[in-house]
Amino acid sequence: MNLAVPQASSLEALPDGPLDLPAPAHADFAAWQLLESVCDPEIPVVSLREIGVLRAVNRQPQGLQIIITPTYNGCPAMEQMQDDVRRCLQQAGMQASVITRLSPAWSSDWITDEAKAKLLAYGIAPPHSKPADDGQNRIRLVQKRAPVQVACPQCGSVETTETSHFGSTACKAMYKCLACMEPFDYFKPY
């Protein structure tokens, strides 16, 4: 537990949504582009920007300040991601500090469309958009939830069933395809 401490400093507003790679003319394009190679260690096909974890690159007198945000509070990959970001920039001769911010809270809606396509190709069904919060029935303990159609990443069939709401990582549920019988992960809307 004695690793980098998330901080509440830097109170400038962070973006609340998916981020595109900035245009080449952007002052920090080089850093953004280098960071395209840093992936979520548990889903090594999407970059931290694409999955919504990388939130900002700020210029400071002592170097770059990179802001990342956790997906789930207990995500054990956070420290690894901080190290990977720092190392990636250092190897290119850039000094960088990495800080973690909690707000605004990460949502699976921040995953870019390109990343959703990559997840699918990797065998993980990408998350559906989160339903709009109508303030009603925010949690349905008794009434059955409306079934969500999750297409099998192997064969495309929507004849699938959730075998467990909790999977190999906090962000995924386990599904089984009833057409091709393959098990697969579904990235949960969050």
Binding site: V5, A8, N73, G74, R101, L102, V142, H165
Partner: protein, 255 residues
């Protein structure tokens, strides 16, 4: 310690102690999917505990760290609800060494998650921006925990004769401990304000799920436990010994 630092410490201790308890199922779950579910639940709770301890350390500004708070405090310094430190052993068991009972695990998760859903909802608008940020993130997680526990409680209550009997025994045994959620405590009042609205919402949730499960709502009366004031059961020291011994034998160890 001021009221809000004390209440945040209480929230952190709650999350850590239940996270530690539920992690006992890791490798021992009744089925693989539940093993994963409880491990996920623990990971969420321990993640929440870390953020909360870090915030306590900031608020106290006395050199404490998340590690010193988790590993180097003794039983009487922990402010968690007594409910959360109880072992998973069956309500009808003669001793804490008896076999773990999943009905206890699920019923406790249900009662506590239903409470925390309301607490996090309230705190997401708190003036302390970091506490509010932790609340927004934790709220997402506790919804999963509550849904998971409620689904299983209904399945137990509405299941076989044995699952029904065990679930009823669990709720009968645990319900009195929930009095501690609502007993008067200035630190809670300072942060949460008037909790009577929360109490009524919590009772509605409990009633709704128990009714669906075909379980009887037991009275919650008798002795009011005081884990929150550092007065714990005999189970707490065993839990802490298991959790803290490595850190204390090898202070500052890393891997």
């Amino acid at each position: 310690m001021n009221a809000s630092a004390e209440f945040v410490l209480h929230l952190a201790d709650n999350a850590l102690i239940l996270g530690q308890r539920n992690a006992e199922w890791c490798g021992h779950g009744p089925i693989l999917e539940e093993d994963l579910a409880l491990a996920n639940n623990s990971l969420d709770l321990i993640g929440q505990a870390r953020l909360l301890y870090q915030h306590v350390a900031e608020l106290r500004d006395d050199g404490s760290t998340e590690d010193s708070l988790a590993y180097f405090r003794d039983q009487q310094d922990f402010l968690n609800f007594t409910l959360l430190e109880l072992p998973h052993s069956t309500a009808l068991a003669p001793s804490a060494r008896a076999e773990r009972d999943y009905a206890i695990t699920i019923t406790r998760n249900f009662l506590f998650s239903a409470y925390m859903l309301l607490v996090w909802e309230q705190l997401q608008h708190h003036a302390d921006a970091q506490l509010a940020a932790i609340a927004v993130k934790s709220l997402k997680e506790v919804k999963y925990h509550l849904q998971h526990a409620a689904d299983w409680l209904v399945r137990f209550g509405d299941g076989t004769e044995e699952s029904h009997a065990r679930a009823q025994a669990a709720i009968d045994f645990l319900m009195p401990y929930t009095q501690e959620f609502w007993s008067e405590w200035p630190s809670a009042q300072a942060v949460l304000g008037d909790t009577t609205v929360l109490l009524s919402a919590w009772q509605t949730t409990v009633h709704e799920v128990l009714t669906q499960a075909g379980l009887q709502l037991p009275p919650s009366d008798g002795y009011v436990t005081q884990g929150r004031a550092g007065i714990h059961t005999e189970h707490m020291s065993y839990l802490l010994a298991e959790m803290q011994s490595l850190a204390r034998q090898h202070p500052g160890a890393t891997w």
